[in-house]
Amino acid sequence: MSLIDLVVEDIVKIPMTSNDKPDVLRELVQTLKDAGQIDDFDAVLQAVQEREDKLSTGLENGIAVPHGKTAAVTRLKLAIGIAPNGIDFDAMDKNPSKLFFLLVAPPDQSGPHVEALAEIAKLGQSRAFCKALVNADDAKEVVDLMKGE
């Protein structure tokens, strides 16, 4: 399964309205909930929060990849959040994060989870692509960019 299989307009939140890290996580999980992708909001939030508590997934160049494992999902789930003005996510370069990829997987599907995370890592290496995502006008444009259209 490729990450692209998970990319639909419903799981894209643009622009994000959060002002801080806890709100970002809640907003992304709520996006999954609103899209009908998850039932148990609290369990999914707890899974990603536990990982964030160890060390922030805010990387360099404005990208953050919050992720976690929980039995509250039966398949890999992805939410994408875009904050053009940036939000403090305790990133390693101390700069605000603008592009958020939230991934949640069931504990017994680590293979697809790892491959999806690796695809995001590869995407993150393309500054031009990330810039295009941050400057997207709406969810449709984000999906089109991901598909390379």
């Binding site: 399964m1 990849v65 680590s110 293979g111 491959e115 690796a118 695809e119 991901m146 598909k147």
Partner: protein, 161 residues
């Protein structure tokens, strides 16, 4: 016409790969071919995630441990599916880059048919979404069968005596 003598099915824990395994079991039974099921623990991706600092070291180890357990669980499941149909299979797990491990096994075991699950129906032009099974499909030296339609495959598997 010669028929496949050695079939390899790639199992990665997705429903699509289990459907592929059911189809491979049917094929192996029809053709009296040897069937090998392969699960690759994608250590290459985990190393990349560690380098990208998406993974912590202990997280990498935890996921690796989980994937070892997944490999055993899914290979055992495919084995059970085969045994139900009176077929004996070879289970193999390896570590590394998925498509390279598949290619290496195809060459080492002289596999003549690779069976994989359905690929993404969305064809992104971005290279980052070029998934491992698709990469294997394009580069293995043997023929490749891409299995689709879970319901039909299930019926075929169930009807296998």
């Amino acid at each position: 016409m010669s028929t496949p003598k050695k079939i390899l099915v790639h199992v990665d824990g997705t429903e699509r790969s289990i459907t592929a395994a059911q189809y491979a079991i049917c094929l192996a039974s029809f053709y009296h071919a040897d069937l090998t099921a392969l699960y690759v623990i994608n250590t290459r991706a985990m190393e990349d995630l560690l380098k990208a600092r998406i993974f912590l070291k202990d997280e990498q180890m935890e996921y690796e441990h989980d994937m070892e357990a997944d490999a055993e669980r899914y290979l055992n499941y495919v084995d059970e599916l085969a045994v139900k149909k009176g077929l004996s299979i070879t289970k193999k797990s390896s570590r590394g880059s998925v498509h390279k491990e598949i290619i290496d096994l195809v060459k080492a075991d002289d596999i003549d048919l690779l069976v994989i699950g359905e690929l993404s129906r969305i064809r992104s032009r971005r290279d980052e979404f070029y998934d491992e099974a698709e990469r294997a499909m394009r580069t293995v030296p043997c023929s490749v069968l891409v299995v689709k339609d879970e319901d039909k495959v299930w019926e075929m598997y169930e009807s296998l005596v």
